[in-house]
Symmetry: C2
Subunit: 140 residues, 2 copies
Amino acid sequence: MNMDSLSIFVGYNLKRAMAVVQADLVRVLARHNLKLGTFTVLAAIGDAPGIAAIRLAELLGIERSNLVAILDDLGRRGLITRSASLTDRRSHELHRTAEGAAVFQAALADVHDHEAKVFAGLTTEERAEMIRLCQKLWAT
Amino acid sequence: MNMDSLSIFVGYNLKRAMAVVQADLVRVLARHNLKLGTFTVLAAIGDAPGIAAIRLAELLGIERSNLVAILDDLGRRGLITRSASLTDRRSHELHRTAEGAAVFQAALADVHDHEAKVFAGLTTEERAEMIRLCQKLWAT
DNA sequence: TATTGTTATACTCTATAACTATA
DNA sequence: TATAGTTATAGAGTATAACAATA
């Protein structure tokens, strides 16, 4: 028995693993002038064109107030559009522009490479298992 | 095939899982006036009494500059001591006080409860597997 | 010259409360 | 009244550069 007090906790190991993964991902996304938040939002809007900000925030598990700066950033750069809904003028429909889709696709390719590199020590089955276990924690 | 662009990535699922775990842990530690950083440092000093700050930072994977405020906090509250090393007066030996050990033990019990609750949806084997997979990513 | 602890700084992420315009 | 988007703000974590004391 030579265990320390921390590494017996799942949460601590999750955090240390996350730090390794994030450090590389942040570096990769920076090449596209994207941050974790902007990349994630760009992906989600592409998956659900026309989605309202409040739904997007729910989907990504972030506060809607924190989404605003991300949308401002993407909008300012012409990567997304915000158009008032015709049926409810409180909500805005979010869409990716052609340039937004192009920037996302370029970044996506690099993110795939990043995952392949960072998780090279895990087999395909282990990666799938990790996704499955993580989703048991956060997915509905 | 009804997958979205993000949930196929291990990193994204790691992050979402982490968010769930951390939210609860932060709440639990707050009951002991501890933050993630102070709890972690308190644990590590207990495991390695007399450790120097620079070694502690390496051990926990944090910047030594960011450790200072944590040690200041714990020191101010009388939970740790910093004494200059006799062999190298640049470095300080870190020790937990009796009160520091008591505060840690009380928090530790709650953290165990927290883990049991948050990972209740995972079997014992799944938790062990998650630790194993995470350690493949960050441990030497 | 190199290392330890420290200070200063800045940026990201996150959480909460309150405002506005609409419903 | 309740909801969508927004603003403001504060806390926590993180990364970098530079300094003083010591090796």
